[in-house]
Symmetry: C2
Subunit: 423 residues, 2 copies
């Protein structure tokens, strides 16, 4: 029986069974095999370029006639350059250190037991993502590199593109001797499949939702499977009284405007009351010049006639746009209080030359990433030297921050003895 | 308004608010303060011995007249010796390395950014436990040592004992300058409080259920808060054809019978078919002599007339009793297949002198702890040199295996620059 003729529930179960079996093989695949698999996958993807362009262009047309937002269409659209970049990123993953099998720690007990904590794959990962079809390749490659099988569920508008990408990956990895089922796509646009995937505790070890807050909340509500989620990036930059103004100017314009659509973009600027009157006109002048809309509190509005009045909602907003909320706070303590109350525990920065203020900020701000005198746009696995990542986790439990290949593994304890028994 | 006069929902919310505030203080408490707090808590608990004995003895009487099982009553019962041991264990926790603030990793990027991964507390931990009142002290102390505030919810039969213990802890830690609300007990036996606690996403970062499968399943069903759970310990010992018979004899009797009620006790013995006829009579003879009931497959029954026929349910059973399921398997491959299919990913051991068999077993058995030539009863944080623990996590995602103070922390990235912006 093929997946096409099964009930959806049976088809999903079959996918789960195949994923579990593939994960058991993949967990013990050597580094060289995985390198060969990812290179072959990249080659297969390049070969599939015409087919992928055709599928994608039909989907883009459909999205346009369905009236999809321009930003969504932009994310959905592939061209030859983007496909080349996706293929190259598969090869890049194969240059990362292979995390599987790493000995994380080792010690010997007084009774002679040799204890090792060894890195192993997580198993089967379910990824639910929205419009960008490149996620199939990027996330699939990272999961595979970490020794995990992956079940991908894409947004319906990129289903055809995702099919072509996943089939190319499967041809590539199978040619290197890894089961094709190590990377599977849920083979239907049927929305019911998401609910089924979320209930597949037996076959899926971790769910990674990649999308907006409503997706993540649905996943949290409907599954008992552990989740690696990144919620919003409501990132702050705080300019302290002891900030170097020139550094502050360069940092805030970069943190907000370099790319407004990434989760590490600053959404709120906090300025120390002691320098607000002196610094704000300069900082906001730069931001206006860069095309940024300012939404400020009463004090900001007194120094910036262009500023729109900020409401309570602005302090919690992830604009992902050329808009910045600006608030005057009472020194580093006020900044910490604001960030912990309104932020999303993603990435926050302080600009200061005062070591005590910097220390207080990095100690007390409860975010996954805290920066001193640098742009929040560095919140990215590649920029931090951790390689490609699947997202930035804002959870408290590990993995937290950038989730790359190493963070897609777990560990086990391997203990060797010579006949020891417990007293 | 006191907790007594509030609605339950308001009272739980007030507990959450206090816990969050206490966690923010505790996260930055120095090691010396935490040592003083735990020592003072131990002293306060010793002083409270008469009060605790009185409360406990009333609860034990009530449990008896309610017809509680003898094993439950045994877990509930405190005496002077046990209280002394609980107080001593508080002091023992204060001798562990303080995990908070540890630099886990550090590197510098080509652009000069200094990246550190630093250990920080999880925040507020909710612990739901069943009858043993000592959990209040043990779990409370470990959470506190790792910088976390804790909200404890005990079984109703140990509520009075838990109240006395928590009040003593609170007096102790408050005398050292840590907010008493760092350790709180849900102040009611009302079952509805559990449901409320499970919905307190805003105030509780992690839930740890300590109890039977039904408790853990309820928690998984009702909460979106991340869980650190240990499910059953269906642990195996596999005796390979290349086992040293004398080691095997000592290990299996210890693994099963040293203490039958702990989660690391072996529940299933697997024996390699090649040595079943030769080894089984010896091994099962030892076990019968130690008072163990044997439930075996057909082959086991042919060599052991005392063996009861095992059913499918026996391969999944966590007896926590002097009962052992015994099965003949085809070598290490058969053992791995059985363990991965029927086990609970807790702790499994192989006895063999064959390095290849040992390597295959530790590589392919998907459990948190895998042992070679040692008793599964070593599955314990203290025995493995990791200090006191709150349980053994059988989850795939970290923390996995023994959950001690270090595993009750998370990390954040602290990045220092000199004005870097992203290209």
């Amino acid at each position: 029986m093929t997946l096409e003729t099964m009930s959806l529930a049976d088809a999903m179960r079959a996918i789960g069974v195949r994923a579990r079996a593939a994960a058991q093989v993949l967990a013990h695949a050597g580094t060289e095999t995985k390198i060969a698999a990812l290179r072959a996958a990249a080659a297969a993807l390049r070969e599939a370029t015409p087919e992928l362009l055709a599928a994608n262009s039909a989907e883009v047309s459909a999205a346009r006639s369905d009236g999809l937002a321009e930003a969504m269409i932009e994310r959905l659209t592939l061209d030859e350059r983007r496909i080349t970049a996706i293929a190259a990123s598969l090869e890049d993953v194969a240059t990362l250190p292979d995390p599987v099998g790493d000995e994380i720690a080792r010690w010997t007990r007084p009774n002679g037991l040799d204890v090792r904590r060894v890195r192993v794959p997580l198993g089967v990962i379910g990824i639910i993502y929205e419009s960008r079809p490149n996620v199939a390749a990027d996330a699939g490659a990272l999961c595979l590199w970490a020794g995990n099988a992956v079940i991908l569920r894409c947004g319906s508008e990129s289903f055809s593109s995702s099919c072509v990408i996943v089939e190319a990956l499967q041809r590539g990895i199978a040619s290197a001797g890894i089961p094709a089922a190590a990377v599977q796509l849920v083979p239907t646009r049927d929305r019911e499949a998401v609910g089924l995937l979320l209930r597949m505790d037996e076959f899926v070890d971790v769910i990674i939702p990649r999308g907006g807050r409503s997706l993540i909340e649905r996943v949290q509500r409907e599954t008992r499977i552990p989740i690696i989620a990144h919620l919003d990036g409501v990132c702050h930059t705080y300019i302290d009284a002891a900030a170097d103004l020139e550094k502050a100017r360069a940092i805030i314009v970069n943190a907000k405007m370099r790319r407004v659509s990434i989760c590490g973009a600053t959404e709120t600027l906090l300025v120390d009351r002691r320098v607000a009157a002196a610094y704000l006109p300069v900082l906001l002048g730069d931001l206006h010049a860069a095309g940024c809309e300012i939404r400020g509190d009463a004090e900001v509005q007194t120094v910036d006639p262009l500023a729109i009045a900020a409401t309570e909602a602005d302090w919690r907003a992830e604009y992902l746009d050329a808009i910045l909320a600006v608030r005057v706070v009472d020194g580093v303590a006020g900044a910490i209080e604001h960030v912990n109350a309104y932020g999303s525990h993603h990435t926050d920065a302080i600009v200061t030359e005062d070591e005590d203020a910097a220390n207080a900020f990095v100690r007390e701000v409860e975010s996954a990433i805290v920066l001193v005198n640098a742009s929040t746009q560095f919140a990215d696995g590649g920029e931090l030297g951790m390689g490609a990542e699947i997202g930035i986790s804002t959870a408290r439990l590990p993995p937290r921050g950038p989730v790359g290949a190493e963070q897609l593994t777990t560990y086990k304890y391997v203990i060797r003895g010579t006949g020891q028994i417990r007293c």
